[in-house]
Every structure is written in C-alpha cells, then in structure tokens.
Symmetry: C2
Subunit: 331 residues, 2 copies
C-alpha cells in the first residue's frame, strides 16, 4: 500500500490531529467525535452549520471549516458515514440559539445518521434543519443512495449557506439559499484509477490501463459505464453532454464552473480540462461567471476529475463572492 | 497513459490557456513565450519578478503569479528549462525601471537559460539580477545540477521577494531578502511512485510495490537511496534527520513548516505527515510558527511528499505574512 500512514486504524485521527496542529488559532479538535470546529463557534447570533460524510474526501469537509463556511465537520471513517452520536454530540457542542443546520451529502448511511441526530437534538429543544445535497447527474440511484448522490457541488451549498449564516440570517433563510444553490448545481465525474482505503489495504476497484469509469461516484461506486480512455476533449464533451441538458443550462445563462480533482490528478490536468470546458460552454452561449479549479471533494488518491455547473443569479453571486476563511492556508 | 490530455505536445499550452481563461481579470497569457503574467505588470514603481523552470511542477510557477508573488512565469515544456528567448522576451515584456529579478531553481539547464537572458537584457540597458534557489538537502550534486537542487523551498523565496517588491524596495533589497530566506530554507522529499510526462508516455522511473525513493528530485532523479516503504512516523524521522542538522535548526528556533505534496498524494496524508512533523519538532524544542500544507512544487502525478523548514526571524515573518493574491482561487 503506497501511502503515508502508520496504523491504518489511526489514519483519520492522525489526519485530524494534523489539521488541528496546523491551525491552532482558528480550529479546535474534539477527538471523541472526530470533530473539527471553529475555535470561535458556536455564536449566539449565527446559525451553526455542520457537515459530516465519510473521510477520504478531503478537503471536504474538515478542511472547509472556517468563517463564512462550516462551523464544524464530524466525519466518519474513510468512506463511512459518521455515527449518529458524532453528529448528535457535535450538534450539542455547536448548538446556537439561531439554530443548527446539518448539511448532508445524499447517501443512505449519512441520511440515517443525520436524520436520527436531528430528532435527538430537537428532543433537547434545539431548532435543527437538514439539507440534502444531490448534484450528481450520473445515475438515478446508486449503490449507496436512493436518488442522486451528493458530490463536489456540496462546496457551493456550503459556501452559500455559510455566507448567509454569517449575515445573521435565520435558519429557514439559510436553508432556503442552500436549497436554491443545490437546485441549480449539477456534477458528473470520470475516474482513471481506483483508490485504496488505508484500512482495506487494497483498491476498491481497478480499471485496465486503457479504461475509465464514466460517472463514477466518490467512493468508487459504479457510474454509467466503463469505456476506453478518450482524449481530454472527448471526455469534457461527454461530461458536459450529461450535465448541460439536465438542468438545462441554456444560452444566456451565467454559471460557476468547477473542475474538481478526485485526489490523484495533478492541477495541470485540471486546468487543461477547465480551458476546454470554458470554451465549449462559450460555444453554447453559456458564460462562465467564475472559475473553481482544484480539489474540493476527492476520493483519496483516485485519478480523475468532475465538472460542476452552478447557474448563478445576483443572489447566488453575492453569496459565492462573500468573504470566507477556510482552515487551509496556501500562502 | 492515464491522463487528461489531447495531443501531448499541446499539454503545456492547453494548460496555460486554461489558467488564463480561469483568471481573465487578473492574468494575461502570451502563448509565444509560455508567459503567464499579471495583467497589471509591469509597474514602474516595483521590481518585476519572473520565474521559469520546467512545467509539470504546478502550482509552481504559473499558478503563483499575482499580487505580492510573481509578476510572470515562462515555463519550458514538462521538466525542461525554458528556452533563453522565453526568459529574454518575458523580461522585456515585464521590464520595469526598478529592475527585473529572475528567480531560478538551481538546475544546470535553467541556470544557462537565465544567465544568458540576463546578459541579453542587460545589454538593452535593464537592471537585472538572478537569484538561485537550492534548498534540497538530499544530494550534493544531482543528475541535473552542480550543487543542491531547488525544490519546494522556492515558494518561500517567491513570497519574500514578492512582498518586498510590493513595498517598492529596490532590486538589491529584494535580492537580499530572497537570499536570506533561501539561506535558512531546507527541504527533502520522498517518492512512492514515479510519474509520466505526457510527451514521453511512460513513467520516468518505477518503484516496486514496497519501495520508496528517499531524497527524490522533482524530475524523478535519484535521491539518496531506494528503501522498503516505512511507516509515516519512520518517514518523517528520516526526513527530519536529514533536514534539521543541516542548517542546523535548534531548540528555541521558530520555523515555517511546509509539507508539500508531489502531485498524486491526497491532502489527508499530507496533514497526517504534518501532525507527525509538528510534534517531532516540538520534542526537539523547535516551534512551528506557521504551517503550509498542500501542493506547492510537484512532479506531475507523482505520489510523494517533501518537508521544508524555514527558520524565521521578525523580518521573514513579516514578509511571509504580507498580503498576496495568487491566481488560484479556491473559494
């Protein structure tokens, strides 16, 4: 197993400890619940936003905790939903009079944990809402979902909800903007390789040297089909042909365009894909308002990428442009 | 070849076009010289800073062009020094009355191109300085260098020179702070896999499933030795045992600590390494003043990581804390 790891069972806690040590002034770490939280949360004047999901998708979500983004993230083990008590205890720690929003990527295991935690928190008198993110157009139902999966589009929902919460909006209003962004976000991805969860020690799936998985999930679950590798041009066409008609995005629309790396793909290739997608959208009359290129929601070291479009109006633009400070500092 | 690529010969231009399309307001692209430059450069009141090196190390250097960082980057093809005329023409385009600083990672090919371009630019009456970065402690001379190689420590030199130039300092002063930072920066890396330049189509070297290359260069050139893979703990020990005594970094010192990914290693593993390094330094009495975790100087999709230490004083802290705006926007 070609990984930087000690005891594979300690992979997640050791990563979380590293995040906390790298951000001593802004983040706090509670190892009991895998909780990374803003050091200054909760605040009585602001809805608290918590996301969980499995580990292995970093920077989602433990590395997008910060001002204008998440108040806390309580991941499960690699590719495993957080236990209900992680969510429940994190909700209690981050409880605010303005309410608690639980953001959940749409997977059956995550829904169960968050729905139950919501009930438990409400029983204690807290105002709690859940918001399910389901931006992946690849498949109708998947190995782990009823309905569409939540993938890299979750970033935009976090950003919008985080900005709205920072304004002091009430819980219903924060939920409203999150649902609005989710409703206009669409994603599809392609994998060139599998990946290896540390505790498993072997790849969750393998692709031949000339194969790719179209519409792959972020846990390696199957997408639409397995194909021979194509040129970057043909790959971008294939992704946009699935994404664009789905909303649909139409001539005259303005969009945020994200090219997200799945973990093992270098940023040079992501910018190459970005340039192709930008030009192909322009040729359809769809204007890129703002670009997002990098790693947002990954699958460990999987080589691959996804494209996300978000149709923007003035309200969404304002939310995406609002200041935010995530834990990861690049310079 | 598992890459997002069209014609491999167009890999670098297509990447550069993607960078330009993603940053229409802040960057300009001159395809004649692979030049990505600040749209507002040159400025008469500021030293212009240019770096070249080969492509394949992104975000170095085309993605660290921006306010408080580089004014331009003119890379060669993948792992190839830029031709002299790229540097010369970029220097003319970015010529400032305050002078031009050419930052160069110490490789023989890069030195030749930049030294010659410097002479040509000086012949036109420009004030030009070169600064060679050589932070890699792994080997005394390498396949491509006389003396030590320049690797991820170049980020700190760019940041310091960029901040100083933004203050309006003269060329000698910008060079002084760059040399100061270079003199207290030390790096060593480990590779778990090789990588494949698009035009080559096959890996530049291969490692067995249980092997790693200790002290690897960023073009896959050999390091100190090939070993069986060890635990993350043992790897961090091995890197720090090479880096710490080299300056040396001593109890009571404050340092910037960078854990840099070589391209194919997920950020979760980098934070795991960061946490271990942070604690091991603390045990030696060395205090981490500021953390840098992510990809700064890569080798395409190589799995691996490097650790950089920079001993900081108040002057260096001020330069590293100065505001900067790079082209890459993560949110």
């Amino acid at each position: 197993m070609k990984k930087f790891v000690n005891d594979p069972r300690e992979f997640v806690p050791e990563m979380l400890e590293g995040i906390a040590l790298a951000n001593p002034d802004t983040l706090a770490y509670d190892p009991r619940y895998n909780l990374i939280r803003r050091a200054d949360a909760p605040r009585a004047d602001k809805v608290s936003i918590i996301q969980g999901s499995g580990s292995g998708h970093e920077p989602a979500h433990v590395m997008v905790v910060g001002k204008g983004m998440l108040d806390g993230a309580c991941p499960g083990d690699v590719f495993a939903a957080p236990p209900t008590d992680y969510v429940y205890e994190s909700g209690k720690i981050l409880a605010s009079e303005k309410g608690v929003l639980l953001l959940v990527n749409n997977y059956t295991g995550d829904r169960m944990a968050f729905d139950m935690a919501k009930e438990m928190l409400e029983a204690e008198g807290l105002e709690v809402a859940t918001l399910f993110i389901n931006d992946d157009v690849a498949v109708k139902d998947s190995l782990y979902t009823v309905g569409r999966r939540g993938v890299a589009g979750n970033f935009f929902v976090i950003k919008a909800c985080g900005a709205k919460a920072e304004e002091g909006a009430d819980l219903a209003e924060v939920v409203r903007v999150g649902e609005k962004v989710n409703s206009v976000a669409r994603t599809m991805g392609i994998a060139l390789t599998g990946c290896t969860p540390p505790a498993k020690g072997e790849p969750i799936f393998t692709l031949a040297d000339d194969e790719m998985e179209v519409g792959v999930g972020i846990h390696g679950e199957p997408g639409r089909r397995r194909e021979k590798i194509k040129s970057a041009d043909a790959i971008v066409d294939e992704l946009l042909d699935a994404i664009v008609p789905d909303l649909p995005y139409e001539a005259g629309d303005e969009v945020a365009l994200m090219v997200n790396g799945l973990g093992g793909t270098p940023i040079s290739e992501l910018y190459l894909l970005y340039g192709l997608a930008h030009k192909k959208l322009a040729a359809k009359g769809i204007k890129v308002w703002r670009s997002y290129v990098g790693e947002y929601c990954t699958s460990l070291e999987m080589a691959g990428a996804s494209i996300t479009l978000v149709k923007v109006d003035n309200e969404i633009k304002g939310l995406l442009e609002a200041p935010a400070e995530i834990a990861i500092r690049t310079f």
